[in-house]
Amino acid sequence: MSASTVGEVEAHGDGPPPRRRSITAVLQVNRLSGLYLWIGLILLFGLWIPETFLTPATLQSIMTDQAVTVILALGLLVSLAAGQFDLSAAQTLGVAAVLMAWMTGNKGLDPTIAIVLTLAACLVVGLVNGLLIAWVGINSFIATLGTSSILLSVTALVSGNQFVGPVPAGFQSLTSTKVLGVQVVVLYVIVIGVSVWYALEHTPVGRRVSATGASVNTARLVGVRTNRYIVMAMIVTSLLAGIAGLLLVGRIGSVSSAIGPSYLLPAFAGCFLGTTQLKPGRFNVWGTVLSLYLLATGVKGFQLVSGQDWVTYMFNGVALILAVGLAVTVERRRTHSN
């Protein structure tokens, strides 16, 4: 028996001839490498620094601090599923946060009205992005890069390059409340995650979005109104970015115009890392969620060990390259052996 096998599968009756299955196939490393890496990290830090890592505080902070990024990533997932990049999503998050803080904190507007106006603004951003891509025909990369820059100027204009806020305490309670001991933002993540997962994978609309993302021309030939689905996807991305922005300002109270862009890379990293998990080769909800919490766990662990501020960037980069690299290698070996 070679080192890479766990044994022979017994032949049953007239079934197929016995074959060796590698341990990577048994463990489904090509689709679960992130899960194993996550478990490995938990074990590693649990043994290394049990007194600080294995605590409720660590669990709470990992779950809640990642919520904004996860919601933004779930929004990005929809446009990525439709084959489009939305580079303006993070700045849409920033616009939502600044608008909300400005309307409620600086102008005294009722939070409910401010939420509606903020989400309406985000809807307009998504609509403009969608129209630029689907009807004008600008590459999504370029179109959303342009709108991102415009949005940055809008936030600077609204905020006067100041910190705006703080938002009212009542609004902040929308993010700080605990339900059954769990921070409510974690529940928002679950609800939004299930909704996006169901919409993308279990509805005809979701299948048409995925078909559009797989090949616009093929989808169009089989009757999918691809432009409509691209516009819809961009609107959903912007709306979820807006929700993420609302949650962000609810958590930190005051924001500046520069708050958005720093969320872009972690969210995209989660989406791309997610394509190596659970459903390799496809943008998928739970792969993305798994990836982001894997990254958050690693960052938290190393922060507890060392406290270096650069650990976040280092770990995100190393984990992304490692996980994608391993998945690609395993997939190539599997294809080769087949």
Partner: protein, 381 residues
């Protein structure tokens, strides 16, 4: 099995690499330590001295006392400000236009991005305008604009800087003739922050200073803070952060630090703007919050936190006063007068729960006597 082994090796390698890197340079430095009494509290003498210092700076600052200009300034001058894209810089730009306008001077504010190229380009634009004076916010070490500074000096342009690097020469003969937010300001801010800790603390440890080492003024303030605490017999730990992480990764970094250092009783920040998201993140994690002390520029949220007890206090400055001081130096140079003080400290005010209600309203806040003290000294209305 080879792939599995590879995964294990990769995890191990990454972990070892990161650990090796992190342990080599020390992220939050467990530093210092004078004659620490390890938890028995500061001496009565230190506490008394700290309280006396706080009392001196606890009243709402009054209007600055300025000597009248020796003669009326000409309105035939133009001045340029090289500013930055941060919120506080926008305030300073507005104040600069107001102050120059009172003198009848033409003014221009050039906003540079945080890149050396943009900074140098802004300087070239400023020099091309042939102004009489330039007020600038240092974004990079002055060595990066040495040629421009010399060109300004050669052209007889008055150059005034905001928050110069410690050790920068400020004199009539140097390329920079005046400075607002000088070393002395960071010394007094640091001393007041440290005094707030000493006057309140029940022990000499559990004191952490959070700062960005990339900013020379912050690093200087951190050293001065440590110096005061050590002389009082205490110890200071440092939490080094990146300003780009404000409101995003920073709160999580603070929580992780507090988990590793559960005995932290005071978390002092060189700047109030580092605090957004921190109280909420601490509360969410369910860990005991240390007393938060800020400095420089409390935002409305910081003031709310002070009222609510989520922030212990701050040492407030006022950027508007700084700008009027900068223009005052230029006004005096314009009439061939040697400024009595080329490095005015500006506002340093201890704000806590007892006096936070006195904090001036407005954005930016309107401190008493600003700008009337200046316009009266200049003889303009």
């Amino acid at each position: 099995m080879r792939a599995t082994a590879r995964i294990g090796a990769a995890i191990l390698a990454a972990a070892l690499f990161l650990t090796a890197c992190s342990s080599s340079s020390g992220g939050d430095q467990a530093s210092s330590g004078g004659s620490s009494s390890g938890g028995s509290g500061f001496s009565a003498e230190s506490v008394s001295s700290a309280k006396k210092l706080i009392d001196e700076y606890h009243a709402l600052p009054s209007a600055p006392k300025l000597a009248p200009l020796s003669k009326a300034p000409s309105g035939d001058h133009s001045v340029v400000m090289i500013s930055c894209p941060l919120p506080a810089c926008a305030d300073m730009g507005n104040a600069f236009k107001d102050a120059a306008g009172k003198l009848g001077w033409q003014s221009q504010v050039l906003v540079s991005e945080f890149t050396p190229e943009a900074y140098a380009s802004a300087w070239q634009s400023a020099l091309s305008a042939h102004p009489d004076g330039i007020f600038f916010i240092g974004m990079f070490p002055n060595t990066t604009i040495q040629a421009q500074l010399q060109a300004a000096k050669d052209a007889g342009i008055w150059v005034v800087m905001n928050s110069p690097e410690p050790g920068t020469e400020i004199s009539a003969d140097s390329v920079i003739e005046g400075a607002v937010g000088p070393e002395a300001r960071y010394v007094i801010w640091a001393q007041l922050q440290a005094a707030m800790v000493v006057a309140d603390a029940q022990s000499t440890d559990g004191i952490t200073l959070m700062y960005s080492p990339a900013a020379p003024a912050y690093a200087f303030q951190a050293k001065e803070f440590e110096k005061y605490i050590k002389e009082a017999g205490g110890t200071v730990d440092f939490l080094e952060i990146n300003q780009q992480d404000i409101g995003t990764a920073l709160p999580q970094q603070v929580v992780s630090y507090l988990q590793r250092h559960p005995n932290t009783r005071y978390l002092v920040s060189v700047d109030d703007t580092l605090f957004p998201g921190v109280p909420d993140a601490i509360s969410t994690a369910g860990i005991d919050s240390p007393k938060l002390i800020g400095a420089a520029a409390p935002a409305p949220q910081n003031l709310t936190w002070i009222k609510d007890g989520k922030q212990f206090g701050t040492v407030s400055g006022d950027t508007t006063t700084d700008v009027w001081n900068a223009v005052d130096i230029m006004a005096r140079l314009s009439v061939q007068e040697q400024p009595a003080n080329r490095e005015p400290v500006g506002v340093a005010w201890v704000v806590d729960q007892a006096n936070v209600d006195q904090y001036p309203a407005g954005s930016p806040p309107q401190f008493p006597g600003i700008p009337d003290a200046y316009t009266q000294a200049w003889g303009v209305s």
